[in-house]
């Protein structure tokens, strides 16, 4: 992975379409299948309340996933995104009571900056992204533990400023869900209609060609990591809103589900293929899987095994082998 090489053999051209179709269609199919399976076991699953619970617990994961997706589209990875989310909740809890809305803005800026930093190191020091973000993971979790004195900080005053995200419901679903969907659609439109919208995909598919066509690949890569940080910050806001507090390890557990969501959604780990809406579908697959495992009476202990296997399987399926010469 460290230095995947662009080799454009011709045989890929024949295989590509069919694989593409599978990758695009499969997630939705799987989702439907899962929903049916679960609702057979547990009819109430299709009831408004459990659906609401599903959607609302999926929202923060979806946000994180969309963030990582930006990086994965460029062919990289961001392992620090969940830790950044946790750090975000801590910063919120520290700043909001005194600074109010300003605190929220500061937190979003700080976390986005942390993301950008990942990008800078990756782009300018030319260090593989998984190394950079692995390091960042350690760094920021340490910082979060330090800032919070390794303790959970309740958001007393001013919680109302973000409380509405998960507290206020329209049509029975919390604002956070609409926010997530809205952003997803927004990003999708951006990719489609912004003049440079395709840059992410171009870099993921053929970085040299993009570079030699005048795409500012470094800048795009940095921005991708920035976006990852930004969405982590949003996820942090949503989590803090529903948890009424910030904790240095609050979101750490969401890394695997988020990455799984992106890959399961059909975004290739090799980059260049995929999008936010697919990622949201991927998140739902993971979410239903989780609920489903309980409904089907699967021991929660197996959750990790399932995540691990799902990730590997999804990667194996979406991976575009024709585009990677030497895999590391």
């Amino acid at each position: 992975m460290a230095e995947t090489v662009t080799v454009p053999p011709t045989e890929r051209t024949r295989k590509a379409p069919s694989r593409q179709m599978i990758v695009t269609a499969l997630p939705s199919v799987v989702l439907v299948a899962l929903v049916l399976a679960v609702s057979v076991q547990q009819p109430s699953f299709l009831g408004p309340l459990s659906l609401r619970t599903l959607a609302e617990s999926a929202a923060p994961i979806a946000l994180i996933a969309i963030g990582v997706m930006f990086v994965i589209l460029t062919g990289g990875i961001d392992l620090s995104v969940a830790v950044l989310t946790s750090l975000g909740t801590v910063l919120l809890a520290l700043w909001m009571p005194s600074l109010g809305l300003l605190g929220v803005l500061l937190m979003i800026m700080a976390i986005t900056a942390a993301g950008l930093l990942n990008g800078f190191v990756t782009a300018f020091a030319q260090v593989p992204s998984f190394v950079v973000t692995l390091g960042a993971m350690g760094l920021w979790s340490g910082v979060a533990l330090g800032l919070s004195g390794a303790s959970t900080i309740s958001i007393g005053a001013n919680h109302s400023l973000i409380g509405w995200l998960t507290g206020f419901r329209v049509g029975g679903v919390a604002i956070s869900v609409y926010l997530t969907l809205g952003l997803g659609i927004l990003v999708a439109l951006g990719v489609r209609f912004l003049a440079r919208g395709k840059s992410l995909h171009a870099i993921g598919l053929a970085e040299n060609a993009a570079l030699m066509s005048g795409v500012r690949t470094r800048r795009v890569r940095i921005l991708a990591f920035g976006a990852s940080g930004f969405f982590a910050a949003l996820a942090a806001t949503v989590l803090a809103s529903s948890q009424y507090s910030g904790s240095p390890t609050l979101a750490d557990a969401l890394l695997l589900p988020a990455i799984a969501a992106v890959i399961v959604g059909g975004t290739a780990i090799t980059g260049g293929v995929g999008g936010p809406l697919r990622t949201i579908i991927g998140t739902l697959v993971i979410g239903v899987l989780r609920v489903g495992m309980n409904a089907l009476g699967v021991d929660p202990a197996y959750e990790q095994i399932v995540y691990g296997s799902v990730i590997i399987a999804a990667v194996a399926l979406t991976l575009d082998r024709s585009r990677i010469g030497i895999v590391k």
Binding site: E3, T4, P128, G138, G142, I269, A301, G308, I312, K328
Partner: protein
């Protein structure tokens, strides 16, 4: 291909004038840093902590450091073989967890009637090797990037461990297994000798076997290795098996030391391990380094951890330090390879 070769050696200059100059100076610089840096850093740390706390240099603390290095060293040696190939193994914590429970549940314990004694340890290692094999096959056959394959396998390992764990840490009652953690041979814990043995074996493998030698070749220039007809997949898979086995052994060592099998027994080890390897001077780009360097790296990490505790720094600060160190080490060693058109993901 081009970038990969850049990773392996200074690109041949295009014009005659430069042709006879040795490897470009900046490379020489980074190579010097690779070889001389770690030992110097280690000595510096020892001096600093020695000055900060008189007890640091005491015999008992030295033994403590040795004991605390043992598990890390074993892990790092295995990891070195994978990183030499330019890959990475993020599954060590999961493998350790599974292994520790396998050992705890097969040796005499307070959960079931098993009593396989030292065979349990072998089983732990075998379990680790199996993980390595699967990761290796996923990586080589399905072309899944190693960090992804091992990330997944790590989760699977944690999961299996959680199932075996079933809510309560099984305690190891087997005297033989426990004695590893409790006995003292000439003042040192048996685990220390295990680690030294693994180090020697690791060095022999690296120096005298195909797995070891081809590690440098494949990591140095996979394309050339392929042209030379070397069965790359086999040796890559073997490297992962080695890494898995050492992780398995490490799990067994931890179990014998704490007297329990536990899901979180490997907590934080992945970081420490990777840091130890890269700090020792093995390039994450692959092709450069070795277990002898890793030994230094592991000592650096252990001394750092031990010293920080002596000085009274919260353990989680080490996490931040290690995180930063990894990135800096990689950036510094790869600095001279940067070009405008190089693509790094």
């Amino acid at each position: 291909m081009s970038q990969v070769q850049e990773g392996a050696r200074p690109a041949a200059p295009a014009n005659p004038d430069a042709s006879s100059t040795r490897p470009a100076p900046r490379v020489a610089w980074s190579r010097r840093l690779l070889t001389a840096g770690p030992p110097i850093a280690l000595i510096a740390l020892i001096v600093i902590f020695g000055a900060a706390n008189s007890r640091f240099l005491s015999g008992s603390n030295a033994r403590g450091i040795a004991d605390q290095t043992a598990i890390l060293l074993v892990l790092a040696i295995g990891m070195t073989f994978v990183i030499l190939l330019g890959g990475i193994d993020l599954s060590v914590e999961g493998v350790m967890a599974t292994s520790s429970l396998v050992v705890a549940l097969l040796a005499a314990n307070d959960r079931n009637s098993n009593d396989y004694g030292m065979l349990a340890v072998l089983a732990g290692v075998a379990a680790g090797a199996l993980f390595g094999l699967v990761s290796g096959l996923l990586h080589t056959r399905l072309k899944i990037p190693s960090f992804m394959a091992t990330l997944g396998m790590g989760a699977v390992g944690i999961g299996i461990a959680t199932v075996l764990f079933a809510g309560r840490s099984p305690r190891v009652l087997d005297e033989g297994v426990r004695s590893w953690g409790l006995d003292k041979w000439w003042g040192f814990s048996p685990l220390t000798y295990v680690a030294v043995a693994v180090l020697i074996i690791g060095w022999l493998i690296q120096r005298f076997t195909r797995v070891g030698r081809y590690g440098y070749v494949i990591g140095g220039a996979e394309g050339i290795a392929r042209l030379s007809g070397i069965p790359i997949m086999r040796y890559k898979t073997l490297a992962f098996i080695i890494s898995g086995s050492t992780a398995g052994l490490a799990g067994a060592m931890a179990a014998s030391r704490l007297g329990v099998g536990d899901v979180l027994i490997g907590g934080g080890q992945m970081f420490a391990t990777i840091t130890a390897v890269v700090v020792g001077g093995t390039l994450l780009q692959g092709g450069r380094g070795g277990v002898h360097k890793t030994a230094i790296g592991a000592l650096i990490i252990a001394v750092l951890a031990n010293g920080l505790i002596l000085v009274g720094v919260e353990p989680y600060v080490q996490r931040s330090v290690q995180g930063v160190v990894i990135v800096i080490a990689v950036a510094a060693t790869g600095w001279s390879l940067r070009t405008r058109t190089r693509t790094i993901k």
